[in-house]
Symmetry: C2
Subunit: 543 residues, 2 copies
């Protein structure tokens, strides 16, 4: 890395780094190169041609634009958080330069000077965060709150807006389990706790949060709240926003402590303004969440359905009858076939054709088994064929691995990315057809468009799309066009622009369609009330 | 009624009237005078002395302040809704003069000139509502949206704020079932539909909403949404805010159509700003709600617990284990005793001492029975003694009757009122003790303070208090002091100022404690964005 910092530090990292590779997902030790036969398949079926090794960039060769932070700004901020918790070194700035969408990762490969936050701050308390915001408002410095760095919607882009500089506010030091109430089944978690660390602290006392999004290993409690994350166990434990009982938020205009009771009729629910606020309204510092005892038992069963519509009807029956799975998901025909070909072998069971569904049940032994039996009856009645436990255990084993597969695909010259939406059950097929067609058009005839349902509600479900195709020309522009077409199709066909990836910069152009011009006006009014100078995460969420 | 209207109409009602007696709850035909032995008991035990018949006022003797609406305002508003849907007659204004709290009913007995809205409008469409709001903003007329008229928190007080006049916007003509989606289990209901009418329209198609607050027979769908109502079946079907999938709201700044999907990560959930907005941000015109098939089976079982703490622990175990009752509630020792003495006989079962709990299970036969069995096991393990079905059937039979009992008590010279809150399970006993003490101090040693839990959540529960005592001096001032002390006790002991009665005018002084000064600032910012002139329901919700 070639730029110089203005704080007199050298290029070496001065702060603890995010546990993510700068240009890929997660832990490099867990990376999985594609088997040669799969590479051959990609070339033959999709026309993917290998990227020359020379095209891949080493971290040393990345050039960052120099930090734009003035020396007196650095001094003022260091006075708040301590010099040991501030860095303008490239090695600290680069890993906070953005999130982990495919365009993010592709942009990291550029040999042109790359953008990054002008400094990284690690505040240690709410008081320090409040003081940082005050300094930044006074000195006109934008602030991007940073948790696990796993955004796939441009939520962490170092946008300066109308300001001269932008800093990354890494919240990892807010990592305490502040309270655990075993009677009410509640815990107060620091926003900087990662998923695994939060579960570890709770498990020491016999409790579990049960929030397992694909980003689980790296993402943080604050990020879960700020983005309305939804985990793979959402059928049993709900979305993260449903787990939240209370929130503390530091804004430039003061601190909010929201959520006095499990339920209230005391006017609008202001928690719901800060859930999903993506760092634009304030910095979430603590979250009070519902927890439950560590499950004593776990029951798995996988199912095959002849087609997606039959499988979707089965999931709908399960959810509307409330039979109680912890996990329930359904892959379409294409995803079922590709999973068999490309990921870990799914047990010894031979699944040929059709659509794979996975169910998992957790809880006290008797309860998990009873819910399993009730769900079984509905799945059988709806036309499902049991594949036994193994394919479901296999899914669970690999549940956090898909992003590593994307890295391998990108390295192999393929284009791979995901997007998601949700709609009513009655509209599911129309929406899936429209989005699939839009993505297919963007990828070309050889591209693969896979889809699954991973979150169900009494009135509807999510749809999650994965695309794999050959890179054509500029892959960023290629995906941008496909994504734009898919988002337009979502809005034209009754979906929401995002079910659990959040808005960030990437979905912002569709927000006015999502909530209407008056909805946007309301968000702007709230923004002005809590962040009058507008320093917080410019260019995200609010159009 | 003695005032004259300015519209040249006589005093007779020109519009359909709310189906509520002007100075009491509900349908006069359903009123229940107290049995003589109960009157004797009140006199002996509580020192209640009968109100002289002369103290009760006939409707003809009520004097309303004359309508303050200028003739040109009447003309402009009539041009929007049609002359047949506007009235300034006292007989139309009086039944919309306020809600149904005990102070409301006591104030109706005043021989001094009473306040009332200056006109009543019955718009027939969203377009008319938008036009009414435009006329009122231009002519500076306050607007109080009106549903069933059942507010018990002053939410309907005809406050003019900084304006010269106030009109009641009665939404009863928005009474359509706009859509029913049998696949997704959703219906779009007009805001003016009453509870019974909504259920009737749904039942014709085999569906149920399942929202049964005590105000069910009169309150409306729009009111349920605007006040975050919670029904007696909340354990099974959730609070009303949890049933809502989408909302349409007409504001002075435009129309909002919120809720594109069963769940979304597209930023803050703006539905949650309008749920609980109490007519201050806009007029809710349609609500899209989750519905479910009419239950085929219903199972009842009542339980006795030795004391409230044991019973509460049982309810907590049921809810945290998720065994699935549709209704679950627990009366404390005092309420259990008084219910036996004062309401309909509870079946043939003799309940002596202890605390009565009621459970009801609805759904498909096999499911209702299975949930009953699971709940039974938890109740037994937690120290409950089954009382069989009858006391639970008896409770259900009288579930909407309590307000009639209050009328009879007030007519007999007693003071009777309710208030409610909610908190975490771990804090339930502390909060109940504190609120009971505050209410007892306000009523004097002979007053009765009864309490029950009627809404449970995994992390906590509601507490509902009923007071019965002797009127002392000015009963309005007497209750005001007791209520103030109880609200202060709620805030000092970790409760929410209201679990399901809403804020209105009565709880507004505690809102800053509930959501903090910055929370209030946010509400004001939203208000300015959607209602810049501030015509909507002045003096409510936002301090």
């Amino acid at each position: 890395m070639a730029s110089e910092t203005q704080a007199g530090q050298d290029g070496a990292a001065a702060l603890p780094l995010p546990p993510m590779k700068w240009d890929a997902w997660g832990d490099p030790a867990l990376a999985k190169p594609l088997p040669e036969d799969v590479k051959g398949l990609l070339a033959a079926a999709l026309g993917v041609s290998a990227v020359a090794a020379a095209a891949l960039l080493a971290a040393e060769d990345v050039r960052l634009r120099p930090s734009a932070l003035a020396a007196e700004d650095v001094t003022a901020l260091a006075a708040v958080v301590g010099a040991a918790h501030l860095s303008t070194a490239d090695a600290d700035r680069l890993p906070r330069a953005g999130g982990k969408s495919t365009p993010d990762l592709l942009r990291r490969r550029s040999r042109e000077p790359q953008d990054a936050p002008d400094a990284v701050l690690l505040p240690g308390s709410e008081e320090e965060i409040a003081a940082v915001l005050a300094v930044c408002a006074e000195r006109r410095i934008a602030v991007v709150p940073f948790g696990g760095g796993t955004s796939v919607v441009g939520g962490l882009d170092p946008v300066r807006g109308s300001f001269g500089a932008v800093v990354s506010l890494d919240l990892r030091r807010l990592d305490a389990l502040h309270a655990l109430d075993e009677v009410s089944g509640e815990a107060v978690l620091g926003a900087g706790l990662t998923g695994p660390r939060a579960e570890e602290l709770l498990a020491e006392r016999g409790w579990e949060l049960g929030h397992y999004p694909q980003s689980f290993r790296y993402a943080t409690v604050g990020g879960f709240a700020a983005t309305r994350s939804s985990g793979q166990d959402s059928a049993g434990h709900g979305r993260f926003d449903e787990m939240v009982r209370g929130l503390r938020v530091v804004t430039p205009a003061g601190v909010l402590d929201l959520g006095r009771a499990p339920a209230s009729a005391a006017g609008p629910d202001l928690r719901e303004l800060f859930l999903g606020s993506e760092g634009v309204f304030g910095v979430i510092t603590r979250v009070r969440v519902r927890i439950h005892p560590l499950p004593a038992a776990k029951v798995h069963e996988a199912w095959s359905f002849p087609d997606f519509a039959t499988g979707a009807a089965a999931l709908r029956a399960v959810e509307q009858q409330g039979t109680g799975p912890t996990v329930i998901r359904l892959s379409d025909e294409a995803e079922t076939a590709v999973n068999l070909a490309m990921t870990e072998k799914i047990g010894g069971t031979q699944v040929t054709g059709g659509c794979l569904a996975v169910t998992v049940f957790e809880g006290a032994k008797e309860q998990a088994e009873a819910r399993h039996e009730r769900t079984r009856a509905v799945m059988l009645a709806a036309g499902g064929t049991s594949l036994g436990a193994e394919p479901a255990v296999g899914w669970e084993h690999g549940r956090f691995s898909a992003p590593y597969l994307r890295d391998a695909l990108l390295d192999s010259g393929a284009l791979c990315e995901t997007l998601e939406t949700a709609t009513d059950w009655a509209n599911l097929d129309r929406l899936r057809t429209a989005v699939t067609a839009a993505l297919q058009a963007g990828l070309g005839a050889n591209g693969l468009v896979l889809c699954h349902i991973s979150h169900v509600y009494p009135t509807g479900a999510s749809l999650y799309f994965t695309v794999v195709g050959a890179q054509q020309g500029d892959p960023i522009a290629q995906w941008d066009a496909a994504k734009r077409a898919a988002c337009d199709a979502i809005m034209a066909n009754g979906g929401t622009i995002t079910h659990h990836h959040a808005v960030g910069a990437d979905h912002r152009p569709w927000m006015e369609q999502e909530i209407g011009p008056l909805g946007v006006k309301i968000l702007r009014a709230v923004k002005d009330a809590v962040d009058p100078v507008g320093i917080l995460n410019p260019g995200k969420l609010i159009p």
